[in-house]
Every structure is written in structure tokens, then in C-alpha cells.
């Protein structure tokens, strides 16, 4: 009697979130939920630091954000997963990468508290106006309320992140839609008010407080240089730039055409930030009386703008409600983004072995890296409590991480221009070609601005300098010690399997269960085996319209004997390597694929079976170094024939074998 049927017993379907891609609108909304939220507090903090000239500097920072977004576009075009750590690591090595990540972590640790406290202050100001109308004579101190609100929000997202609730780009998109609507009403109403009252440009004079001068008071000769003052003010406003790193995190999820959509997303972010953060700050300064900006509206500037417009009080109060609701949604979203982002960065560095495995321990129930999340949430809550709800204190501490991570990132990209002469999909403009190198004139100017602002900030923002450097040293030490311990461990044990892409595998007994998920008009099956031989998948991703075509990536794992009679295996490390390469390639082209793993003792039969069941139009194979293209086609033809039933109308499929510069195509 012949052995058991060749039919595979189980299909493993990869369902990682990274395999679906998002539009540039959604990508922009994710970035803006973080970056745009600074509109709610940047103006007030800048006003507190250097007086009524703040709108000019917030606007200048927003214009500068356009240049930084271009730096990020070049970086993302080079590395699909090109956050600060990756780029600095490539250009300046491990140690500098660790320092840059440490400063970036500091940014994340402050982003959460500054956003949640700002949201608390906005809600508190709204309650302050509404409660008397409801005849509730109960007044909660603003700052105490803000602290309680911020701790509650942080605790909520702490729990959500432990549970592993995925951040939904749809939710971000809806929030940004609502914020844009409220922002548009606010801008139109403000313009109408300005038209009626007349418009006066804010002054250029800088009036630094002794607090905002920091250690600069010890260098009186520097104060006589006008440019130093400009950079001091610029440095106090640069916190409006926070959130750029989110663009690097979200780039991997942007759909095809990847670079074009990245540029669109970056431009959308720039335009929104310029109009929303820059424009509204400008309008607020011209509508709200100066004493109120520096007084009761200092920590809720846009609420103040709503309340100081022309019109009946009830209508202004309704607008304030919308401003507070939309602002809180955005700010609260930024808290989550900071937690997700810091957890992501820590996971990334942990994969590289510079964070001890203790941190990577997975939650028993939810499978999340809960120790990292705990650490981030606890630090954020401590920061909130220490701040006592003082947004200016938080603003003072902010920007250290933003600036230094941007310095490292920009410097790294400049170094890579000299070290890596591969053609770029996109380059920051203003370059001079010298031999093979495009000398980055434009980016060097950006770096000069960043370094100057960072150095000036070291002197002026005492809280940021002390806390930022301390935090960076602590985190850098953790990374150093972890790396040392991991290196010692690596000498004793085999490499850790967890250093692979996180794979969410779903088991299905029948291929038929997966068919409803393949609903596009055309289908292409791409069998894969070797992570270093994916030329055929690359060719499919380059030429296929994913709007109309499902791309099924199939790994048929040879498994003889017991597994086919009953059990099936799980993913082995080599399967993870293979699918990691598949995911990275799909990410590079921004096209979704449906990866599957089947266990079979005849891979060609499995390929034919899946192709037949799914009704694919093409099977595109990579050439096998062992057998050669013709033998592969012969074996597929034989397998295809075995599946064809005599009485059924014959189905045909295009079988291709693709390798560098060549392909064979035959109809089966």
C-alpha cells in the first residue's frame, strides 16, 4: 500500500500587521497625532520663555520642520526601517547609536507627560468655564487636576499597551479629520475676528526671563550677539518639532508607490504643522490680549483663542469644547504614541543585544514586552508627579532628546553620503557632485542650525540639560551593561531565537479557509525557499498592481513521516528568517502579501495544490541552484496534471521561473 496522501495537513498563515499597508493620508495622520499636538502647548511655553515674539519662532520651527522632514525622507528612502538607531548605527557605529537612542528615549519619556499634562490643563480650563454654568460650585486646582488627569491617561495606556492593543491608523485618521475640522473652524473664525478688529504683527523683541536664560547669564558677552538670542528663542520653540521620528517608524507601513507616498505624507505633515501649529499660534498672539496669553491662557492657548474670538459667549464656549475635545484626543494619542514608540525602540535595540533579555520577557497572557512598558509608564508617571502639572517645567525639560537625536540623525546621513555611494531614491536638495559623492550642502546647513540650537539649549535649558544628560547617561549605562552581559551569555548559549521578526501565525486546517481573504481579480503565487533568493518575489512586487492582484507567498516545507500523518510542525528559525526577508521586501515596495507555510513531502505538489485551490493566474518561482529552471517547470507540470480532474474543464496557469535578468514562462 502506498504511503499517506501528499495533501498537506495544515496551512500556517502569517497575519502580522506589517503586511497591510496604509495610504499617505493615514501615515501623515499618525505623525501629526504626535507632532501636531505640540500646537496646544508650544506657543504658551515659548511665550513664557521669551515673550510676545513667540509666534515668529514657532513659525520658524514649523518652516524648519519642512527641512527636517526632507532629512527623514532621505533616511527612509535608504532604510525602510530607518529610525535614529539604525541610521546612526550604520554611519557612526554602535556607541553613538546607543547615545542617540538614549537621548531619543528621553524625548519619549517627556512627550507622554507633556502631552497628558497639557490635555489635563485644557480639560481643566474647560471645566472652569462650564461648571459655573451648571451651578456646580466646585473648583479643582488646574495643576492638581492636570496631574491627576495625566496619571490616569498614562495608567490607561499603560494597561492598553500591556494588553497589546494595536495602535489603529484608522483611529488616528479619524482624530486628525476631527482636529482638522475644528482647526479650520478656528482659523476661519479667527480670520474673521482679525478682519473686524484689525491685525498687528507680533513684536520681534526677545524678552528672556532669568529662568529661560539659564546658564547664559554667566556669559554676558554672548548676550550681545543678536544671533545667539535668535537661537535661544529658536531653541525654546523647538519642542514643536517633536514627533518626527514617528515618520521613520510609520514608513515601513506606507503603501506603494513608497517614496512618492512618503513625500506626500511628509508634505502633508509640513503643511498641516505650518498652518495648524504655526498659523494658529500666530492668530492667537494677535487676537488674545498679551496679558492673558502670559496669564490664564499660558497653558491652554488655543482654548484662549476660542474664547477671545468675536461672537456670542455660548458659541465661543461651544468652540472651546470642540477645541478641548479635539486637543485632548490628539494629546492623549501622543501619550500612547510615546509609549508605543519607546517600546518599539527598546525592542529594536534589544534585538541587537544591547538591552538585557530580562527586559524582553513576554507577558504570560498578552505576549507583550511588559517590563519595557512598565519601565516607560513608571518613568512617565514619576515625571508627571515631579512636574506638579507645570507645563513650562516639562517644556523646559523637553527638546533635549528631540534636538540631539536630530543632530545624530542628520550627521549620520551626511557621513553616509561619503561612506555609501549607492544611488539614493531621493536626496535632500542642494548638493554638489564631487566624483561619486553628492556633497550635501543643504543638509550641512541644516546640521549647522541643529548643532547651534542644541549647544545654545545646553546653556539655556538647565532642566533639559541636567535631566537629559543624566537620563542619557543612565540609559547608555543600561545599554552598555546589557550588551556586556548579553555578550557573555552569547558565549555560553546559542543565539536567541527571539531576535527575529515577531510573527503572528494562524493555523488553518484547509486552504479553503483562506480563500475568502483572497478576493482580488488576479492572483499570483510566489513559492519561496531561500531568503537570499527572492529575486522572483522582488520582480513580482515591482511589476504587480496590488490593487487588483493578491500576492500569495508560499513556503512549502518538506516534512516527511509522522508530521504528515498527524502532527504538523511550527515555524522553525529558518522559516522565520525566510518570512522576515519576505516581510522586509514587501515593506520595501509597500505592497501587501499573503505569506503561508505548508508542510508537505512534495513542495511542487503543495505549490500546485495551493495554486489550484486559490485559482491563481500565475506561479512565479525563483530558480533553483540544485535542479535548474526546466526541471522545476517539469515537476510543477506533473503536479499540476495530477490535480486536474478528467471530467472538469481544464484550468490553465502561467508558470514562470525568474532569475537575475531572465525568466522562463510557460502555460500549464
Amino acid at each position: 500500500m502506498n504511503p499517506p496522501s501528499l495533501r498537506f495537513k495544515q496551512v500556517l498563515v502569517l497575519s502580522t500587521a506589517m503586511l497591510s499597508f496604509i495610504s499617505f493620508w493615514k501615515a501623515a495622520s499618525v505623525v501629526l497625532c504626535d507632532m501636531g499636538s505640540s500646537a496646544f502647548y508650544a506657543g504658551g511655553i515659548a511665550m513664557n520663555a521669551f515673550g510676545p515674539a513667540f509666534p515668529w519662532y514657532v513659525l520658524a520651527v514649523m518652516l524648519f520642520s519642512g527641512l527636517m522632514l526632507m532629512v527623514y525622507v532621505e533616511s527612509c528612502a535608504m532604510f525602510v526601517r530607518g529610525g535614529v538607531y539604525k541610521v546612526v548605527n550604520e554611519a557612526m557605529g554602535h556607541s553613538m547609536a546607543k547615545i542617540s537612542v538614549s537621548s531619543l528615549m528621553f524625548d519619549y519619556m517627556i512627550t507622554g507627560p507633556v502631552s497628558s499634562v497639557a490635555a489635563g490643563l485644557y480639560v481643566s480650563s474647560l471645566l472652569y468655564n462650564i461648571m459655573p454654568l451648571m451651578h456646580i460650585n466646585w473648583h479643582v486646582p488646574h495643576k492638581l487636576f492636570a496631574v491627576l488627569f495625566a496619571v490616569t491617561v498614562t495608567a490607561f495606556f499603560w494597561r492598553e499597551n500591556i494588553k497589546g492593543v494595536e495602535e489603529s491608523t484608522d483611529k488616528n485618521f479619524k482624530i486628525m479629520g476631527f482636529v482638522t475640522l475644528v482647526g479650520a473652524v478656528l482659523i476661519i473664525w479667527s480670520l474673521s475676528t482679525v478682519y473686524q478688529r484689525g491685525f498687528k504683527l507680533p513684536p520681534f523683541d526677545l524678552k528672556f526671563t532669568s529662568e529661560s536664560m539659564g546658564w547664559m547669564t554667566n556669559f554676558p558677552y554672548l548676550q550681545t550677539i543678536g544671533l545667539v538670542g535668535i537661537f535661544m528663542a529658536f531653541g525654546h520653540s523647538i519642542l514643536a518639532l517633536s514627533g518626527l521620528e514617528t515618520l521613520a517608524q510609520v514608513y515601513r507601513e506606507i503603501e506603494d508607490p513608497k517614496i512618492k507616498n512618503l513625500k506626500r505624507a511628509a508634505f502633508t505633515v509640513f503643511l498641516f504643522s505650518l498652518i495648524f501649529t504655526g498659523g494658529l499660534t500666530f492668530l492667537a498672539s494677535s487676537i488674545i490680549p498679551q496679558d492673558l496669553i502670559g496669564g490664564k491662557y499660558l497653558d491652554n492657548l488655543l482654548s484662549g483663542l476660542a474664547l477671545e474670538l468675536n461672537g456670542p459667549y455660548w458659541a465661543r464656549l461651544v468652540l472651546q469644547c470642540f477645541v478641548v475635545v479635539s486637543g485632548s484626543m490628539m494629546l492623549v494619542g501622543a501619550v500612547n504614541t510615546s509609549m508605543v514608540g519607546s517600546n518599539g525602540v527598546l525592542n529594536r535595540v534589544a534585538e541587537d543585544g544591547i538591552l538585557h533579555d530580562w527586559f524582553r520577557h513576554l507577558h504570560k497572557k498578552y505576549g507583550t514586552t511588559y517590563r519595557m512598558i512598565n519601565m516607560v509608564a513608571i518613568i512617565q508617571i514619576i515625571v508627571i508627579i515631579i512636574s506638579g502639572g507645570d507645563i513650562y517645567l516639562l517644556g523646559e525639560a523637553y527638546a533635549f532628546g528631540v534636538l540631539w537625536s536630530l543632530v545624530f540623525k542628520t550627521l549620520s546621513l551626511i557621513i553616509l553620503r561619503f561612506r555609501d555611494d549607492m544611488p539614493r531614491d531621493w536626496m535632500f536638495p542642494f548638493n554638489i557632485k564631487v566624483g561619486k559623492v553628492y556633497f550635501p550642502v543643504g543638509m550641512s546647513v541644516v546640521l549647522l542650525v541643529l548643532i547651534t540650537a542644541s549647544l545654545v539649549n545646553l546653556l539655556t535649558k538647565r532642566v533639559a540639560t541636567i535631566s537629559g544628560i543624566s537620563f542619557t547617561i543612565v540609559f547608555f549605562s543600561i545599554f552598555q551593561i546589557s550588551e556586556y552581559m548579553n555578550r557573555k551569555k552569547a558565549q555560553l548559549y546559542m543565539p536567541d531565537d527571539d531576535s527575529e521578526e515577531k510573527m503572528n501565525m494562524r493555523k488553518e486546517a484547509e486552504i479553503a479557509n483562506i480563500l475568502p481573504e483572497l478576493d482580488k481579480a488576479r492572483k499570483i503565487l510566489v513559492p519561496v525557499r531561500n531568503p537570499s533568493n527572492l529575486v522572483h518575489l522582488k520582480s513580482v512586487l515591482e511589476t504587480t498592481d496590488d490593487e487588483t492582484t493578491d500576492i500569495i507567498v508560499l513556503a512549502a516545507k518538506i516534512s516527511k513521516g509522522i508530521q504528515l500523518e498527524g502532527e504538523t510542525g511550527d515555524m522553525a528559525p529558518e522559516d522565520k528568517d525566510l518570512f522576515t526577508s519576505v516581510i522586509l521586501l514587501a515593506e520595501k515596495y509597500g505592497k501587501p502579501v499573503k505569506p503561508m507555510l505548508v508542510f508537505s513531502n512534495d513542495p511542487f505538489y503543495s505549490i500546485a495544490q495551493v495554486a489550484h485551490a486559490a485559482g491563481v493566474d500565475e506561479v512565479v518561482m525563483g530558480v533553483s541552484g540544485t535542479t535548474g529552471a526546466e526541471v522545476q517547470l517539469e515537476r510543477l507540470a506533473i503536479a499540476w496534471g495530477m490535480l486536474e480532474k478528467k471530467d472538469n474543464a481544464a484550468r490553465s496557469v502561467m508558470a514562470k521561473v525568474v532569475w537575475e535578468g531572465r525568466q522562463l514562462s510557460y502555460k500549464l
Binding site: S5, L6, L633, E634, A637, I638, M642, E644, K646, K667
Partner: protein, 157 residues
Amino acid sequence: MIRQSEEVTLASILKSDYVFFLKGRPAKEEVVKLLTDGLYPQVSNFVTAKALYEKVTEVEKLNNVLETGFYIPHAKLAEIDRFYTALAIIPEGSLDPKSGITVRAALLLLTPNRPVFFQQHLNMLSKLSRLFQPAFMDSIVAMKDGVQVREAVAKHE
């Protein structure tokens, strides 16, 4: 480049004289040898018996027995300009030690080694694996001679 399919029937290339009923339970290698020796008179003008056997066995290193118990040793020869076949029927079966499958029929297929024939070659391989299903093999192992087998092929093809 996509090449168009041109239909070649098995019945048109399988001669009844080249259908062999093998007795006993020969090894897979013996089946291949018997088939190449049996088919050789058809191609003796183009290739030596030794060269033919070597070519077929070289390809066989990569070939698998089908789960249905059908086996298709095949080779492409530059010297020929049409398809040649020979069919071995093994009523008692031949055990393939590599797969554990009992082979009941094996068809040697020689194809001209030119690109224009490769599409037909693939079509023929598909056709063979589709035709030689267990029920069909049950019927041909019970037949008495090549004429009956060829008629069955023509009928079911």
C-alpha cells in the same frame, strides 16, 4: 517569452509494440534499464544505447515517483526531432525505496532538446500525470497486450 501550447497526444506517440509488461517486482533501476533498452530501437539512428541510458539516469536523480504509483523517467535529447515513448506496466509493482511508493506503471518520455518543444514537453508531463491515476492503472495492469493499452490511452486521453 510565452510559447503557445501545441497539442500532442500520447496515443499518437505511444506504439503498442513499445508497451512492456514486466514480470515480478523489478527494482526502479531495472525498470529504467528495461525501458531504455526497449525504446532504443526507435532512436538507434541518433544515439547509442549507452548514451541514452546515461542521459535518462542522469535526469532520474532529480525525478520523483508520483503518489499514484506512476513514474515518468524522461530526458531531452538534442539529436531527435520528435517525441518517443515506451511504457512499462508492472502488475506486481516495483517498490521505490526512496519514497516507499509502489510503482505500477512507468513511461519513458524522450523529448527533442529544443526550446520550441519544451511547451509540448510540459503539456505532455501534465497529461501523463493526469491520465495515469490509480483507477486507470488498475485497468491497464489487467490488460493482456499493448494494443489494448494503447486503445485505453486513446480513449481516456
